[in-house]
Symmetry: C2
Subunit: 373 residues, 2 copies
Amino acid sequence: MSLDPALLPAPYDSTTLPIGDFRTEAGVDLPGASLRLFAFYEGSAQDAASRPVVLIEHALTGDGDAADWWTGIIGPGLALDTTQYLVLCANCLGGCQGSTGPASEHPDGGFWGSRFPALSIRDLVQAEKQLIVDVLGIDQIRGVVGASMGGARVLEWTFMYPEHVEAALPIAVSARASAWQIGMQSAQIRFITGDPFWHAGDYHGTRHAPVAGLGQARRIAHLTYRGELEIDERFGTDPQKNEDPYGPYWSRDQRFSVESYLDRQAEKLVERFDPGSYVILTDALNRHDISRGRGGLNHVLGTSQVPTMVAGVDTDILYLYHQQEHLSRNLGDFIGLSKITSPTGHDGFLTETRQMTVILEKFLTKAELLAQR
Amino acid sequence: MSLDPALLPAPYDSTTLPIGDFRTEAGVDLPGASLRLFAFYEGSAQDAASRPVVLIEHALTGDGDAADWWTGIIGPGLALDTTQYLVLCANCLGGCQGSTGPASEHPDGGFWGSRFPALSIRDLVQAEKQLIVDVLGIDQIRGVVGASMGGARVLEWTFMYPEHVEAALPIAVSARASAWQIGMQSAQIRFITGDPFWHAGDYHGTRHAPVAGLGQARRIAHLTYRGELEIDERFGTDPQKNEDPYGPYWSRDQRFSVESYLDRQAEKLVERFDPGSYVILTDALNRHDISRGRGGLNHVLGTSQVPTMVAGVDTDILYLYHQQEHLSRNLGDFIGLSKITSPTGHDGFLTETRQMTVILEKFLTKAELLAQR
């Protein structure tokens, strides 16, 4: 089995590939599913096909275009060096950036909508394995790398398909969802499903969508992605320009600067993201649990046979650093723990490019040495 | 000027007293306002009137019945010893537990509703000063004590009416709202005001109220009051009994245990709290800023002339402990910093009764010594 260069998209471009028959962990068949795959490499597809593969796993509202959202990380001479590696990233199953999700057309007509099944993190990884290994023919992945929901998928790759993963780097993630995360995430799901335009998940094709609920979810989610230090340094108690939040009556039009910022975050997500995908993928995060059906949590971590390096952010309130320390103490083939120091919180893996570069270079150096064993 | 015992409610009971003319910081007149005051003491009102006064400031959704919500703190032989002190606590202006708020009747008929003005923390303190000093005739308060929104009022007491405060203990609070708090709090306000039953604030007396929005706000707020450690130890990834959140399709009826817990928190608040009051008081928290109109923040803190002790909780993500350290480094007459160590987070002042008792006893001992100077 080897990678057929003809299947690769052009450099920094994407292609959408069917993944074949798919059944979810909870037993629902999902016919006609496909994933949209981006490939980042220099030179010809022929050249790229001979390079070691780095597979990136994107976060909840990310997508396959990793060179776009992981600024300064992917390219010639950068941490994920596109002259040395074939860097791949696929929009996950359930997403809305070209892969099959609730907003996709159903093979029987109409949109998937409420017919789209719940997915676990394991389902997302199974779909991706069908794409990367079974369809593309990539047998060995030098490194699987990702943060947040991407990190959860990295971990599952190491337990589900260790034979295909030479080394793994989960970032800003935990061995299982914490109750606090489930609380925050479930509340966000309910904002969307409680929106009058949710229509039990079948709003696609109508003239309305539960965008108010999605905006509510994003405002709260964003505050779990960003640290108090960073937000406060940027906005403090500043009023938004030409608005007065200290007026005689409360008014929705008189905002603090941070409110305006959160409104923009909500508007931007609403423009590019399907509320149904947000529900499905947030629910998958709630279901994240390395131990489910496998045994005790630390026992399961101890059975890991894939060399795994772990990274986290010191100010992360969503995936607290002690959760990465927990992984580091229990993973069966642990090769290093790195702390990103940042005022930014969870999103530090996106903003601290210099530190992230050091971590990725160290990881790939170790992975190369291990591959030569 | 001295306290008239005839004005005191019976022990552990309450009375509602008019506070006279009131104008908000932003210039709105609020005719006919009154506050509901609880008094906690042993023996006769005559005896109690001769004791030093401890004034408790309640948190956002608290009320005047402090012996009810501050369990194990107020009573004979407890930290706030009702045989030694006259302990008072008034439901704040804008509240819904007997004091004038949006759900109260307007002097011109109907409910206050949208006619109820925005309030600042300073407004809440001014109203309370009119009650405690001007109406009751209490000239000296031995200690003003409170946490969270209560702590913000404690701080404002020391800047607005230092001549009436012998010592102060603000707990789990900051010198001003942080942008992260404003973000979280503004989002909560918008959940309520975006509820179709909000009716621009004039839902009182209709058959509906924006209780779904209030529930949404409570779920999120509660997760900012409770630490990740405590929530996770209690709930982890447990499903709610007889429900299966791992089923083939996402369903609102199949919950994790923590979701059920948050639903209960929401239901309980909806039963006892007016959404309009929640908006007014949350907005007051957004406006909390010791420095507004007074000068630079640290300069203003330095001008404080009231002996002030500060306490906080190590795991608080809403009012981070560094915010209490900031107060301790800048207050003009600082008399001590205490750290409550707890998995609970912000609500540690409610749950860590033993530690809170040590802090309160130390505070009152210092306050007594200072009063004898």
